[in-house]
Amino acid sequence: MPMIHMRNVCKVYEDTGAVALDHVDVDIAKGEFVFIVGASGAGKSTFIKMLFREELPSSGELIVNGHDVVNMERSEVPYLRRGLGVIFQDYRLLADKTVFENVAFAMQVIEAPRRTMQRSVNAVLDVVGLRDKYRSFPSQLSGGEQQRVAIARAIVNSPSIVIADEPTGNLDPETSWDIMDIFHRINQSGTTIVMATHDKNIVDTMQRRVIAIEDGKIVRDEARGVYGYEA
């Protein structure tokens, strides 16, 4: 069973009637590193949001990490999300919490045992290289550092899949590469990574699987792909 399994997935936004996804078929296996590319409004965001059930498919079949996203009870949604780590372009850190607290927050709200919290948070802060800044507040960090905190928060509960929506969108090229390096290491530990991006340089250099979406359809799916659009 693949980590992510989409069959005939369609998404029509009822209020506007806009077709965001049009009969999409995709399988993503455990441990893959996948870029989702395409112009703004092509359906990338919808694709990403469906994976953590921020949006529901209008029709079709969607299995994520063994959860039937379409037919699941509302009360099961948190358990789907506990197996996923989500990262956004705008970091979404809590300004009144320190680096440590921001990461620990993700463990706290799923009622993870307190004993393991300190150790797990320190471990992921090591992964993103921010152990020494654990007492800083987000406002005292650079954009790249803030994104690293967000990544630490996303992986602290050991998710099977990391989903990143334009994680380098607000960062300069050099900082972006630091972030990609972290993603690369997370991927090497066996975690599946799905990342929507506009960054041609990154996609072309990394040479990973590329899924291109245009007008809600998958127009290209290559194992070692390139960005394919003008940057």
């Binding site: 953590f52 509302r74 009360s75 948190p78 358990y79 789907l80 999300r81 506990r82 197996g83 996923l84 989500v86 979404r92 809590l94 927050f105 993700a106 706290q108 709200v109 799923i110 009622e111 307190r114 928060r153 509960n157």
Partner: protein
């Protein structure tokens, strides 16, 4: 639920109550005022009910007997009354029992009885119950003519008046209650809405990392309950001193007025008011969560 989680919830509630301090103050204040007014009505209605109930049980005719009546004559008298038309029952109440009853009625004012020492100024009596209320008057008149009867008393019309007033108070109180409850709900739900708004980023993150709906809801619900409870506490404290002052004032002028004794009555009122506050708080924040917290 884990202890650690409860600790977290309480921290969140405390943080949020402080962050919205003015709204918190307004909410607690509104709850307090509303529950105080509610409590005043409750106290008045309960006391009037008691009074009416007391007088109503006196729709029975109290037949007081002359002092020193022989037992034989007393039994004959009882027999005579029992055989009158329209009489349901005749019960003999000796003076000792009458004194015990008076002691019950006096409530907080036992000292009035203590002043008598061992003396008992009360007469022996019959409690005569008639079959229909409209027979009270004629029956009382006839009975008072019997030999050995000192006096025959009844209190029907007072009761009627009292019931009218109680009914009016109940309706008015209920109406006021509905209005106040509405206002209270509104202000609590508004405060919770502000909290939800202030914490929307946190809520979003909680959802993304897989917090359950109830984990997200609980702090808000608790916040409402705490506000309601605080308001209830203020109201209850105010009501206790209100009732204390009221009873003191009334006893000053009307010594035998049958008020409900302060304890345990006010303890029940306190518990009731606290529960009502918590309930309103929970419902108020529930309303807000339903509308503004899309989990």
């Amino acid at each position: 639920m884990k202890l650690r989680t409860i600790e977290y919830f309480l921290q969140e509630v405390w943080r949020s109550l402080r962050r919205n301090n003015w709204m918190t103050f307004a909410s607690v204040g509104t709850v307090a005022v509303s529950l105080f007014v509610l409590g005043v009505f409750l106290i008045l209605v309960m006391n009037m009910n008691r009074m009416a109930g007391m007088l109503e049980s006196q729709v029975q005719i109290s037949v007081y007997l002359q002092d020193g009546l022989k037992e034989g004559r007393r039994e004959m008298l009882q027999d005579e009354i029992e055989h009158m038309q329209g009489i349901e029952s005749v019960k003999f109440v000796d003076r000792d029992e009458a004194k015990t009853r008076l002691a019950e009625r006096l409530g907080d004012q036992q000292y009035l009885l203590d002043a008598l020492g061992d003396k008992n100024p009360l007469p022996d009596a019959f409690e005569v119950t008639v079959k229909q209320p409209d027979m009270v008057e004629t029956a009382a008149k006839s009975i008072s003519q019997f030999e050995g009867v000192e006096e025959a008393k009844y209190g029907q019309d007072v009761v009627e008046h009292l019931f009218d007033i109680t009914r009016l108070m109940r309706v008015f109180g209920l109406l006021l209650m509905v209005l106040l409850a509405g206002a209270t709900l509104f202000i609590i739900s508004n405060t919770i809405r502000l909290t939800v708004f202030a914490r929307r980023k946190e809520i979003a993150i909680m959802k993304y990392v897989g917090a359950t709906d109830w984990f997200i809801r609980w702090p808000f619900l608790l916040e409402g309950i705490v506000m309601g409870c605080l308001g209830g506490l203020l109201a209850a404290l105010a009501l206790r001193s209100f009732y204390g002052a009221m009873t003191a004032k009334i006893y000053d002028t009307l010594a035998f007025f049958p008020l409900l004794p302060q304890y345990p009555f006010m303890n029940y009122v306190t518990i009731g008011i606290l529960l009502a506050g918590m309930f309103i708080g929970a419902v108020g924040s529930g309303v807000s969560l339903k509308r503004f917290l899309k989990v």
